[in-house]
Amino acid sequence: MFAARTGASPNGVRRDGHEPAAQPGTAIVLASRAAGGITGALRRWTGRLVGPQQEERLERLQTRANEFGVDPFGLDIEFAKAAIAPVVWLYKNYFRVEVTGAVNVPQGRTLLVSNHSGQLPFDGAMIGVASLLEAEPPRMIRAMVEKWVPSIPYFAPLFARLGQVVGTPENCRRLLAQGETILVFPEGVRGISKLYRDRYKLQEFGNGFLRLALETRSPVVPVAVVGAEEQAPALADLKSVARVLGMPALPVTITGLPLPLPVKYRIRFGEPLLFEGNADEEDAEIEKKVHQVKATIQAMLNQGLRERRHVFW
C-alpha cells in the first residue's frame, strides 16, 4: 500500500499511463529481447526464402489488427510472417510444393475444401503457404481446426496467432462474413489419421461446410493435395489408447513417430463451385451437393496421381 499516497501504483504506471510500466524486471527485459531477436531472425529468414517478389505479397496482406497487433480472432500478422519461416522452408525445400490452378481462388469469402491426410496437418500448412504466395490477392487462410487444439499447451496460442480458428459453424460464418478464406477438411480426423492402405480414398465428408456455403453464398473451391497421403504411412490406429490419452487418433507409422517423409506435394486448386439452395434442407438434399464436391476432389486426386511420375520427385 506504499503507493497509495505517492500518486503512482507499485510498478510505476501513471494514472493516465499509456506507456508500459517503467521498470520491469531484468528477466522480463531479457526474455522479451530474446523473443524479439528470434522473431526478427525468423522474419528475415522468411524474407530470404520467399525472395523479393513474394516478399512484396507478404507486405500487401490485409488484417484488422488493433493496437496490440492482433485481429479479433487473435491473428498476429507480424508474428505469423516470422513464424511461418520453417513452414516456408518445408514448402520450398522439403515438400517442393507444386501448385496449379491458384488463379481459381476467387477474391473475397471462399471455402477451400480439401482432402486431408498425413497424420500431422502439413497439408493444411502447405495450402496456407500456397494461398499466401500464389493466390491473388495474397491471403492468410483460416483453417477450421479440430476442437482438440485449444486444449494442447503451446499449440493453442500458436494456432490462434497464426489465424487458425476452432471449427465451429459460428466461427466459420463470422469469418466468411468478413470476407476471409476458410480452409475446411470435411474428412476431419477420419482423413488425417487414415491408414496407408486407404490413401487417396476420401473418407466420409461432413455436411456442415456445405450448409455454410449455402447460407453465406460463398464459393467452394475444391483442393486436391497429392503427396501428403504418403508422407507418414500408418499401419494401424490405436483408437482405444488414443481415447485414454484424450487424443482423437493414435496412428502407428513405420517410423514410430508420424514425421513426414520428403514426398513431393502437388496442390491443385479446382474451379470454384457455386451452390444454390436452402441451407436448412434435409441432410439427404445437402448430401447430394456434398457428394458433388467430394467427387470433384476425388477426380482431381485421380488425375494428379495419373500425372505424377514419382512419390518423391
Binding site: F68, K147, P150, P153, A156
Partner: protein, 326 residues
C-alpha cells in the same frame, strides 16, 4: 410521478460509481446491507437486506421508474447456501416487488462469465449461446440462475422493459473481482502454453452502459463488450507484469492447495479463464443501443492500476489484494 431509479447493491464499487453518474440527472435510491462510503447527499440509501419484506416499501410509494439490479454477491468464500438464497431468492423477490408495483423498466447486471470458458467455445459467443458457466465452476451457478430468472421474468411480465446485461471482465481501480485482482498481481501465475484472447471493460464504461440500458424502448439480453480483445500475455506485458508460467495440471493442484489453506482469493476453477476463451459478441448492444465504450483498450487495461480515490480515504480494507498470492 415516477422519477426514482432504485439501485440494488449500491454500496459496491460499481454501484457507487453508477450512483455518482446517475444522481446528477435523476433521483437515485439504493438498497444494500452495507454502508455506502462517499454517498452523494441526494442519494438515499436503504440499508436493508434485499430479501426482507421491508424492501417492498420502497416500491410501494409508486415513484420508481427503473430498477437496476446488481445486488449480486460474488464472495467465493461465502457459504453456497447463503450465496444462493441472497442471489437467487433476493433477485426473485426484488423483481417480484417491482412487478407488483408496476416499475416499467428493469436492468439486471449479469456477466459474460455465465457462458463459461471452454476449449470448444465460439470465438464470439452470441446472446443465444448456452450458459455453461456452471459446468466446471459450481459457484457461478447462481449467477446463471439469476440470469435465467431475469429471462423468465421477461416472459412473465411483457409489460416491463427488462434488460439483461452481460459485461465482459470488469476492470477498475477499486474493483476487487477476480480479473482486476489478478491483473494487479506483480507476478501473476499463468498457464504454460496457454494465452487466450481476453475482453475487458472499464467500470466507468459499464456505468455508462447501464445508464444507456435505461433508455425507453430497449429490452432484451445483451452482451456488453469493451474496446476489443487482446491476448492475455499482451495485457500483462502492457501492465509490466512478470508472469510465472506453470504447467496447467500443476497450477490447478497448486491453486487448490492455496485455496484450501485460504492463501489465495482465486477459486481454482477460475483458472479456466486464463486457459480458454470466454469472449463474446457485443454487436447487438452496439446496434440496438448505440453502445460505444469511451476508453481505449490501453486505457481500460491501465485502469486496474489507476489509483483509487476511495482507497486514498482509507475507507476500504485492502484485504483481498494482500491475499492475492497467486
Amino acid at each position: 410521478m415516477r422519477d426514482v431509479i432504485v439501485i440494488t447493491g449500491i454500496s459496491g464499487n460499481l454501484g457507487r460509481a453508477l450512483a455518482k453518474l446517475l444522481h446528477r440527472t435523476d433521483r437515485v435510491e439504493g438498497i444494500d446491507r452495507r454502508p455506502m462510503p462517499g454517498r452523494p447527499k441526494d442519494v438515499v440509501l436503504h440499508q436493508i437486506d434485499l430479501r426482507r419484506k421491508k424492501t417492498e416499501d420502497i416500491f410501494r410509494r409508486g415513484d420508481v421508474k427503473a430498477l437496476i439490479h446488481m445486488g449480486i454477491m460474488h464472495d467465493p468464500r461465502m457459504s453456497t447456501e447463503e450465496h444462493h438464497t441472497f442471489n437467487v431468492f433476493g433477485t426473485a423477490q426484488v423483481l417480484e416487488f417491482a412487478a407488483r408495483h408496476h416499475v416499467p423498466k428493469i436492468v439486471v447486471l449479469s456477466s459474460a462469465n455465465v457462458y463459461g470458458p471452454g476449449p470448444n467455445n465460439d470465438n464470439f459467443l452470441g446472446e443465444d449461446a448456452p450458459l455453461m458457466g456452471g459446468q466446471r465452476f459450481s459457484e457461478i451457478r447462481d449467477l446463471v440462475e439469476v440470469d435465467m430468472y431475469a429471462q423468465q421474468y421477461m416472459w412473465k411480465h411483457p409489460e416491463v422493459e427488462t434488460v439483461v446485461l452481460r459485461p465482459v471482465h470488469i476492470l477498475g481501480p477499486a474493483i476487487r473481482n477476480a480479473p482486476s485482482s489478478y491483473l494487479r498481481l506483480r507476478r501473476p501465475l499463468t498457464l504454460a502454453g496457454f494465452d487466450p484472447m481476453v475482453q475487458l471493460v472499464a467500470v466507468s464504461d459499464v456505468c455508462r452502459a447501464l445508464a444507456l440500458a435505461l433508455r425507453p424502448g430497449l429490452r432484451g439480453v445483451y452482451n456488453l463488450t469493451g474496446p476489443g480483445e487482446a491476448p492475455l500475455s499482451a495485457v500483462l506485458r502492457e501492465l509490466g507484469r512478470m508472469p510465472i508460467p506453470v504447467p496447467h495440471p500443476l497450477a490447478r493442484a497448486l491453486v487448490q492447495r492455496l485455496w484450501d489453506a485460504r492463501l489465495t482469493s482465486f477459486p481454482p476453477p477460475e483458472l479456466d479463464h486464463i486457459q480458454f476463451l470466454c469472449t463474446v459478441d457485443g454487436s447487438r448492444f452496439a446496434r440496438d443501443a448505440g453502445w460505444k465504450p469511451q476508453l481505449t483498450l490501453r486505457e481500460t487495461i491501465h485502469c486496474v492500476d489507476a489509483e483509487s480515490p476511495i482507497r486514498r480515504e482509507g475507507a476500504e480494507a485492502p484485504a483481498v489484494r494482500s491475499a492475492g498470492a497467486v
